[in-house]
Subunit: 208 residues, 2 copies
Amino acid sequence: MLAEKKLSEFLDDLASDLPAPGGGGAAAVSGAMGACLISMVVRLTLGKKGYEDVWPEMEQVVINSDLLYKTLSSQVEDDAAAFNDVIAALKLPKDDEAQIQIRTQVMQKAFKRAMEVPYSIAQNCMEVLVLALQIVEKANINLISDIGVAAELALAGLESSLLNVRINLPYIKDENLVITTRKQIESLAEAARSNKARILSEVNNKIA
Amino acid sequence: MLAEKKLSEFLDDLASDLPAPGGGGAAAVSGAMGACLISMVVRLTLGKKGYEDVWPEMEQVVINSDLLYKTLSSQVEDDAAAFNDVIAALKLPKDDEAQIQIRTQVMQKAFKRAMEVPYSIAQNCMEVLVLALQIVEKANINLISDIGVAAELALAGLESSLLNVRINLPYIKDENLVITTRKQIESLAEAARSNKARILSEVNNKIA
């Protein structure tokens, strides 16, 4: 499991010419760090005097943010596996018509997966932005910059994941799927950018 | 060393109520991942047929990007140390005039360091954006999305670091330093956003 590597080793692997991890895994780590920071801010709001009114809501938020960072952390592995499946499919033999047909089917399945995994990472990053917006006016004011960082990292994770979705679209033959996906990623990016702008506007109001 | 922790443990610590790591360390990891992706793209350009003309330049780039990711990785620790020094300074006794004077001096030194470390992280993230812009039209076209991800993560690391610089400014009594720093972070943010926009414009041109 990539998440069980030392951080320094993960970075060494990322910088190397190994096929994975790559940009997809880095995007998942960015989103995971965003979710972690939401969990941190909420933990330092729970138990903090003066914030009693929001404790019940914060207890719900931290359940979600903890789940999100663990999911995003495991998606570093999913992205590497999906990429390796594409590489494996490309290496299948294509010596006769039967082999070509099988290779095409396996490749189409692999490219779809290589698109679905970053799309799911992007959706999870959006969830981080939703939580950040939910707590930005309510959480411990001393941690306001960390909410801003969570939003920056979650949006970067989302934008990065959408690049990884788009890079796979030209290889997918199911035109309806391509059209639907293009619409979905456009509206996801728009919603995410708008959320991040609202969060940072609030953060900037509170930081001198 | 935080970079010697497992990635999963680093994330657990980030999500916890421990004083560090926090947003500053997460920003450094984001920038480090950006630098790693530059190294990866360059490694997969060096040796790739058709790119012989840019190999000498790429050999220089990878020296810089490797150094940047290692520096940024070590700054995760620097940021935690700076934050812990602020916490330690705040706990110094203030029972008489002499103690108050010493505490003030130690606190000023700690707050300056807590501002200098994220500023240095931001500068290193800017260097990643400079390298990304340098290679975006020249590197292996198959890795174009990874250059886009590098730019997204480096800018997020930079913006996050600047939030951490700004959060410390109100505590610094040296007004000239505060004024100079505000000007520097404004021009750094402007340059970084402009670089990232140019990189992504090129990336988007090349991705369908």
